[in-house]
């Protein structure tokens, strides 16, 4: 079994799974329970000047019966006093010295940064995370994403933090910008040791159709919040990969955004992250999800022969390239395997309306080449042969029960010359293994 101990900024963390700075790391008792459950580290709920939070604070995006595929919050930083937080952090570090404790910070002036950094270092924080990402509430006060969106300011404050701190400094980036590599470079220029991303995406999660108020509703009003959860993972993966690629894997990254399973985490590692931070999945299912994450990651590493997480960091970056570098001579086509097909025809309609019109239904289908669709009448399946063959009024027949239909599925047919290999049919297919993509000789035309 591989050792999941991961080296990040010189810190030996028991495993690369950290809790992100968020409600699951709000108190000492929570963080201790999380460490007990197996989490390698925790980024404490952001400390700063006292604030007051609103009620309610959260909104969920459900899709076709699946709860919280996306999550939105308008909660601010910690609403507990700095003293209590520091006392609890100290207690946690004392009891769990091997686990990584990161202090997330968000203050304004140089003096405030100096003061708070000294305080958290005093209670044993292993690293600092500068919260330059929060896109709601705090940014209106010139903090959070307001800093993350101004590279010069970001660089300056990162520089202050480095000046005052003895422990590594991580800059948490906002995705609410055009090109994430710019603030990442600013963080590096300011002397930061690493970046963590993504923070939440500015969002409105939905609207109450009866009250005409967006969610979450606070006394009849709402405000924009920060969006996270499984649905944001692709955005986070891209931003992590973009930085890893630009920095040649030389600038450490803690990946955040929709990590819910060991597979998600591995994706972040392969695209350049050394640790991952988790919030929404824990808010949904609790700390216990760490058990599967550890086991799954461990088994994956065994299977692939990785001795440590650090070995796999950035493995996929060489294969992440510009569109212009893709091979235009490569061609694949869809292949439908009748033995696995269930006859739903979702590939047919997807290809017809959203693809390249190259899949037709199997021989029982409406549009099959040998059917007589123009002559088909409603209900003709009641007596299919008769309704087609007999048209005159005098054609009388007994109405008999329809013949028992064969349960056999007639799989749709791919017309290979028209197939561009777009993948859509395979993506919509609900039957495992029914559609695969196979390499085929390139059709005559090529852009190159």
């Amino acid at each position: 079994m591989p050792d999941l101990t991961t080296s990040f900024l010189g810190i030996k963390t028991p495993n690369p799974f950290w809790l992100a700075s968020a409600p699951p790391t709000n108190t000492g008792s929570q963080v201790m329970r999380a460490f007990e459950a197996g989490w390698g580290g925790a980024v404490w709920k952001t400390l700063g000047k006292p604030i007051q939070n609103v009620s309610s604070r959260f909104g969920g995006l459900d899709h076709m019966g699946k709860k919280i595929i996306g999550f939105n919050n308008i909660e601010l930083i910690t609403d507990r006093s700095i003293e209590i937080n520091l006392k609890e952090m100290e207690e946690v570090k004392k009891r769990y010295p091997k686990n990584t404790l990161v202090a997330s910070l968000m203050v304004e002036s140089r003096e405030e940064w100096r003061e708070i950094i000294a305080q958290v270092e005093g209670v044993g924080a292993d690293a600092l995370e500068l919260n330059f990402g929060c896109p709601h509430g705090m940014c209106e006060r010139g903090m959070g994403s307001a800093v993350g969106q101004e590279p010069k300011l970001l660089k300056t404050i990162a520089g202050w933090a480095k000046e005052f701190s003895k422990v590594p400094v991580i800059v948490k980036l906002t995705p609410n910008i055009t090109d994430v590599t710019v603030p990442a470079q600013a963080a590096r220029d300011g002397g930061a040791d690493a970046v963590s991303l993504i923070n939440t995406i500015k969002s409105l999660i939905g609207v109450d159709l009866d009250q005409f108020v967006p969610y979450p509703t606070v006394a009849g009003k709402s405000t924009n919040g920060g969006y996270c959860g499984p649905a944001v993972k692709p955005i986070a993966l891209h931003m992590v990969a973009a930085i890893a690629r630009q920095q040649n894997n030389a600038f450490p990254i803690s990946g955040i955004g929709g990590v819910s399973s060991w597979k998600d985490a591995v994706e972040f590692f392969l695209l350049g992250a050394t640790t991952v931070q988790v919030c929404t999945a824990v808010m949904h299912y609790g700390y216990r999800i760490i058990e599967d994450m550890l086991q799954g990651l461990s088994d994956y590493m065994d299977e692939k022969g990785f001795k440590s997480v650090n070995e796999m960091v950035g493995k996929a970056i060489p294969n992440f390239t510009d569109w212009g570098s893709l091979d235009l001579n490569y061609h694949q086509v869809a292949v439908i395997h009748e033995e696995h097909c269930i006859g739903c025809n979702l590939c047919v309609v997807a290809c017809d309306d959203g693809g390249h019109q190259c899949i037709t239904p199997g021989k029982n289908g409406k549009k099959a080449p040998d059917s007589v669709s123009s002559e088909q009448q409603p209900f003709s399946h009641l007596h299919p042969s008769r309704s087609r063959l007999h048209r005159s009024v005098s054609d009388l027949h007994p109405i008999n029960p329809p013949a028992v239909k064969s349960q056999a599925v007639h799989a749709p047919v791919v017309h290979e010359p028209e197939c561009v290999g777009c993948n859509l049919c395979m993506l919509v297919c609900p039957a495992p293994g029914a559609i695969t993509m196979q390499q085929a000789p390139k059709p005559s035309l090529s852009l190159h």
Binding site: M64, G65, I342, G343, C344, N345, L346, V348, V349, P361, G365, K366, K367, Q377, P378, F379, H381, L382, H383, R386, S387, H390, R391, S392, V393, S394, D395, L396, H397, P398, I399, N400, P401, K405, Q407, V409, P430, A431
Partner: protein
Amino acid sequence: MQFEEKRLESSFNDFKPALTPREAITEAERCLYCYDAPCIQACPTGINIPQFINRIATENTKGAAKTILDSNIFGLSCARSCPVEVLCEGACVYNHLNKKPIAIGKLQRFAVENAYEKNIAFYAAGKSNGKKVALVGAGPASFACAHELRILGYETIVYEKNQLPGGLNTHGIAPYKMHSSVSLQEISRILEMGVRVEYGKELNKNLELKTLLSNYDAVFLGLGLGEDSILDVPGISNSFTHGAVSFISKIKTHAVEKLAWVKNIKTALVVGGGNTALDACRELKGLGVARVIVSYRRGEAEMSGYKHEMNAAKQEGVEFWFYTLPTKFELKNVRLVRTQVVNHKVVTTSPEHVRPEHFQAELSERSNAGNVKKGDVHTTGSNVISLDVDLVLLATGQAKLEKLLTSIKELKFEKGKLLVNPKNFQTNHPKIFAAGDLVNGGMEVVNAVAEGKQAAHGIHKFLNSNFEGASNARFNN
């Protein structure tokens, strides 16, 4: 229209209970939204099932009901009485993934009930086109036809020999599937379209086809089937033997006081192997009859009743005696003999009690290969069972109504079924159209509805090709 408040059927709960809104949405969200879906193809009325299920999932329940009713105005009773296991749900692609098929019947019931609770009227009668159609028999075929004709602007009058509308929908659906009150409520919505019904009008008694033909522009026959067939067996005429269809009708519509004697039934025998036999035996079990036996002269594989219904009956404790045949009825006693099927022919093993004539009733009705013909019965050995019973229900078929229609010589029959053009359900007499059990020999409500609707369009096309300038009618959705 008189309707008993307290009926024996009221003691039956739904075998498939209604879905709550949350359950319905959860189930609807499972649907894959297939294209050119197998479930649509399996529905005789061609309801766009994925569309209505998707509408439930988006909480557009009214739209879901409209999708259903546009194709099938008996969407509520079909949701509850259709053998979905062999129709839409049997065709669901999830069966190929070893997943539970979508509960299409329950979802359909949810959508239509929801719309009816809100009293949404989806349809209105079309502008009158001055033409009149008479419909004989107030069952699903006639009402499906009349509903469509009203939308097209026809005046419609339904003639019914009974005092309640609905035919087998009211009198015959197993009460654990649907109570007669639901059928009447559903029909009341069709009556609100301006469909008139005259009760107590029976063909060849106080109603003549020839008169209808001269008074109306077209005549639709939705007579269904006749009385329960009676076996030609000694002692069959006795007080403990009833036709199954007639008995079920009593459970569903008679006042509970009139059926007090049902409580005293301890042992009941149901004769037959079709769906009426399966309904009847399950209903007897539901009424608390301790021992219910179904005797069928052939084997399990040859039963025409649905497999899923028989499995449910077995689970409820019904005994199935295959290869048995009643040969003699005496006071509260039935004598049965063992049969064998040899070369697709039923033979009995008892010499003394069986005569070929015992198979006469089936002879006249069934045509599929393998049924016995007079003279096919061979008797060998001896294997007689004597059974003491309190009730015998004969579920051996219903009479065909060919003889009622002899006054119109153009009408043609084959094996008791009135012949029609399957495209427009027109008979050999151009003004007479027909659908339902009368023409299909006894199928599901959903088949009757599909045919009745097609007949309405057949009538419309026929009358508009014959008369100038009368095609103002249009659908009013």
